[in-house]
Amino acid sequence: MNLYEYEAKRIFAEGGINVPPSQRITKPEELAKVHLGYPLVLKCQVLAGGRGKAGGIKFPKTLKEGMALAKDMLQLSIKDSKTESLLVEPAMPIARELYLAVTLDRDRGCPIFIASAEGGIEIESSSNVLTEPIPHPYHPYVGRNLAQKLGLKGAVLNKVADIANKLYKIFESKDLDLAEINPLVITEGDDVVALDGKIIINDDAINRQPQFRGWEEAHLCDLSVRERDAKMSGLNLVELDGNIGILCNGAGLTMATMDMVKAFGGQPGNFLDAGGGSDQKKTLAALELVNDNPNVDVILLNILGGITACDEVAGALVEFMKKYPERAMIVRLRGNNQDIAEKMLAQSGLKLYPDLEEAVKEAVSRSKAGSSKKPVAAGKA
């Protein structure tokens, strides 16, 4: 879960990291009540990156100019992320900018510091970057080593080391995927201040972070309505442009099924992993999500029951077909309790494909046959 800049800075401040004084406004006229002195910085609060280039940061010199800018900025959408509010800060006398972040390195299998003596950069495209594995258990000397490697000296070395240590503490205690300060500013008076920040909270850890409980809904801006519904009911849905709706159990099998659809000339309409051990209710919810996508002409269900019981899936299918008898369904079902499932489905007239390739080929051919009559709920037909 991505946080807004103002939320990230609040967390930095709680952790003892210096941030600029600030106020947040949601209407241009609220700028009159801001007493931080001009020139000011106005910053759009969005969840997308590339804000500066998109016109999301401005430096008004007067209240009048600020209100005019604020009016436009509050309407701004950056990469589909609407401006939630404006963060207002005094402009800083900057002597130097650094980059400092903590993230998890999947190749090393541990958290790392990423740092650069150049701040305000796009870290992915910079060559002047330092990475430093973070040992467990943590010791503050790690922060001092890092500051030294950045070429810092004197009081600034100690201040940056202290911020690195605090940033790691925040990263660990809040279960983050990323804690980033960009830029970390050294002022003309040798103060060290986090001028901009980004925090990503690990999705799997949110339930043990009471501070963030219930935040998810307000921070899922890059998902479709159905993807959001799926997430809220514990399913993994990613929507694509094709017309073959796909429902499988297990991430790898779902991706492989999508790939086969494409390889045999079809277009996958979605990725939906119902997960291991899904019962009848969860499977039915998953079917409804795939069915609800107006682009979908055919649904391909591929379940290989390890911990998923085929009879639970069959129960969901029987219920679904009662509701949507016109829906083109290709079902491949194998594994635990397969025999029970076959008996249940034989009565519903649904053909079962034991072989995956045959099922995929049939789904592709049906998707091209224009079986795109929108299914109508039984009773209304």
């Binding site: 541990c110 995927d177 799997d204 993994n236 991706m255 999508m258 494409k262 390890g306």
Partner: protein
Amino acid sequence: MILVDKHTKVIVQGITGKMGAAHTKRMIEYGTNIVGGVTPGKGGEKMHGAPVFDTVKQAVEATEATCSVIFVPPYLALDAGCEALDAGISLLVLITEGIPPLDTAKLVAQVKAKGAKLIGPNCPGIITPGQSLIGILPGSIFKSGPVGMVSKSGTLTYEIALALTESGLGQSTCVGTGGDPIKGLDYQECLTMFENDPATEVIVMIGEIGGNAEEEAAAFIKKTIKKPVIGFIAGQTAPPGKRMGHAGAIISGGKGTAESKLEAFKANGVRVAMTPAEVAKQVADALKQPAKA
């Protein structure tokens, strides 16, 4: 076979939970040497005939178990793993999905410090067909034979194992290393064990989008693995920037694409299969002409 056989003594952490109990039954039915289990506060009880202990230490002292399969909830997994390590368990099989990655990183550091091995997390476990099934794999689709399998995925492994078994191609051992970005055993370690295992003649390596473990493994194969390796990658149709079910299955910043992995396979002499059925065909071919230049 690698890592486990019929003599491997296994305990189940979380044996009285819903998942733990159900899979304990299935593992015992398969023939796995389940010698006990652990649930704090339930010491002295029995689960499907296996004695339940309050602590791993007691379980290890009473049973001499060397392997623990862990079914505890995500936020208790780090503690459970460390308890097993400190009690002298040398092989941890961590099934649990949804463990915060920082916890996994801490556990992996402990596993390394103790010289132990961790399979998982977020994995189906390991099976040496006909001997030992440790985890949640469906035993009936596997059979004993010369194919070693290592995979990030659960159900995709079953799909490919099924294709192999139905073609008469059995497996020496199948290891599911898990779909998380941070994990215990990696491809290189498994490939090395299969290379040194006399029962394994061909290796199947199943990967998916995200990270660059497959690329690194491909370079490693070219350098050190003489046995034929067949590679499969899931996620060629996955859009960038989206987490595809597994926490680790995401293309980010243009890295971790299926194309990059398939190219690395081809460049390093790994035989690429595009469907599960094709994996079986490639394995059959490789068994006919196993020598590698």
